[in-house]
Each structure stands twice: as structure tokens, then as C-alpha cells.
Symmetry: C2
Subunit: 221 residues, 2 copies
Amino acid sequence: MPIDIVVMKAVNAENDARAREVRTQLTERGILGLNFMSSPGSGKTSLLEETIKRLTGELRFAVIEGDVFTAMDAERIARHGVEVIQLNTEGSCHLTAHMILEVLPRLNLDGIDILAIENIGNLICPTSYDLGEHRRVACLSTAEGEDKVDKYPKLFSISDINLLTKADLAPHVNFDLDRVAAKLAALNTKAPVITTSVNTGEGLDAWSDWLRQGCREAAAR
Amino acid sequence: MPIDIVVMKAVNAENDARAREVRTQLTERGILGLNFMSSPGSGKTSLLEETIKRLTGELRFAVIEGDVFTAMDAERIARHGVEVIQLNTEGSCHLTAHMILEVLPRLNLDGIDILAIENIGNLICPTSYDLGEHRRVACLSTAEGEDKVDKYPKLFSISDINLLTKADLAPHVNFDLDRVAAKLAALNTKAPVITTSVNTGEGLDAWSDWLRQGCREAAAR
């Protein structure tokens, strides 16, 4: 599938109004909008690839890949036959609703169940910009260290689900999955915590169920 | 050692002028100023701790720990009996020279050889702010993935040394150390690349030698 690359600079003005426009468009079509946020290298793209593979024939995905430069992630997603746009910010460290609103008409959303937006790898600024999603997905890889929950509490507080990724690495990096899961659950009592690994498949059934439930709610709106 | 916590917001105006002031102060004292930049969780603080331990009695460090919130990293550094200040940005995703200039008088720099500034974990915005350092140290952990050099070329282009960290994890995360080292060397021909691990000690002799050489140059200015 060809990659559509759009270059955009951050425009903060009226972000919330634009986010509402995005959300309305998705809601009217019964699409579940997801905003994936994490550090660089926490495994967002790998998780998305594995999720798309697992749910092929059941849920249809469209993807907006945010990155500072390059179309590497969109190329990875496109290999799975999914509608995808690469959105390059050329220096900006987060996506804005303005950017999403601009690229949305370029995606063929007919029959799509989930629009997954992969934000720029950054634990700070993306938390301040509503993109028009219905749910925020925060990822934390075991390799980043247990202290990240305390050091970046906002991301894990405003999220609708907290995913611990790269669980298979935990024994090599002295990361206590149970302790961090408990900390996340205490910090954000409304968001489920799922421990995942795309290498072992751990947690991917629970994650898929969460997506199915979100899609049922989106379809019923 | 007590932790000095300072809260500051980013002020972009006149950053370069303030950076020159910081650099002048350090140069006049014969201190080598280092600006450590990387993703969150790449192991900057662990590297700094291990470096301080190894060079005890030989080189004297002072440290400015940048973080969005918490004094966790400064507490780790303070355990080594080193002069340290925690600089909290409360939301800003990078440090500025203004912040460094403000906190510098709070540090006792008598007899100090190296001022290590640990920037906010972020691969994007810190690259646009000169802090008054003499050398920029970029770190990339193997757990973040090989694609980060292509996705965030600016950081690894403007750095004076590129450190591959967590080398001991490479076999578990399918990271080809030689390939990435060659890519970094091609991207930035003036910066040495050192593969390191604080767990195995790999590369720490070469890294210590680079610091010693920098200190000799700083003392000779």
C-alpha cells in the first residue's frame, strides 16, 4: 500500500475545538479513536502491528503514524494491508488536533472500526493535546525503568488504559511488573493495567478484549 | 547530602546569550560542562552514577539533574557524595540556559572538574537549546530499537559523543550494535561512538578516557 506523507508544524490555537470536530467525525461513523502515547522505543508500532495481525477479519484498522521525520513506522503498518498515513512534524514533539483534522479526509474510513493514532514518542507534551480520540492508550516498556510512573505521572493519570510492554524483558532489567502494575492502578483507578509482550503474546487477549469492548461502545453511540 | 530542588518554567528568550554566560563561567573555572541527552529510561542516571564511582579520587563531579517532576535522580546522585541540584521544569520538555544560569550559583564549584547536566528525557526539543555546555553527550539504549538513529537524526548529529547504552540487553532485543555504531559514525563523523553497559562495565574505560581528555582540555583553556 502506498505511503501518504504529510509534513505539518504544530498549531496550538483552538486545539480543543478541532479535537471536538475530529471526535464528532469519528463518532458519527461509529469509529473508535485511539491516541497511543509513550516514550520513543516503548514498542507502540510493534504492538499495533501484532494487534492488526491478531484481529484481521474481525476489526478493521486505519492508522495515523506520527513521527518527527521518516515514514518508517507507516511502512511497517502498510505491510499489513492497512490504510495508513505518515504525519511528520519536522521538529515538533507532539501531534495536535489540527494535524489530525487535516489528514483525516485523506483516509478511506469506510468500514473502519478503529482509528489508531500513534503520537510522537514523548512522555510530556502529548499529554496536553486532545487529538479528538475517544480513548488514550499509555504504554510503558519494562526497559525504561520502574521510576517512570513517578516521574511522568500525568500521562499515566489521564490515560484510559495503561499497557506495560516488553514484559519478556522484565527479568533482564530488574523490573517488578506486579509492583509497577499496582502503582499504575493506584495512580489511575479508572484505567485497567495490562502487562503485554508481542514476543510471547502475554496480555494480548485481554488487550484485544478491551478493543472489542471499545468498538461495541463506539458502534452504539 | 541534602537535595536542592528548584522549580522553573522554560524561558526561550535570549537562550544563546545565557548559554554563553554559563560557558564563560565554566571555562573560567577550568570546568568541563556536559549536556546529557536521550529518551526517558536510556540509562543516563545509571551511567552517571557508575562514572562517578569509577572516577572517585580522580575527577570531581557536580551534577544538575533535569526532570519534569520529582527529585528521584538527584537523590540517586547525592548518595555518591556529589554536589547535586534537582531542576524541575513542571511540564516543560527540555532545559534552557536560563535555568542553568539561575541554579549555577547554588552549586559549590570549588575544585570541580566536570559539571554534568542531565537534560529532560526527550529526543527532540533539548537539541534546540544550548545550555552552555562544552560537550553534548547523546545516549541511545539498545532497548529503544535500531530505528531511533534514523528517526531522530538531529540529536545524534549535533552530539560530541554518541553512547550506545544497555549493551548487555542487545541479544534480547534484536539490536545489532555494530550496525548501529556504523550508522552513528557515518551520520556524525566527528563524534566517537562507544558501546557501554553499566552492568558488565563494557566501554566504561573508553568513556572515562574521553572524560579525562575533555578535562585536560578544559583545564588548559
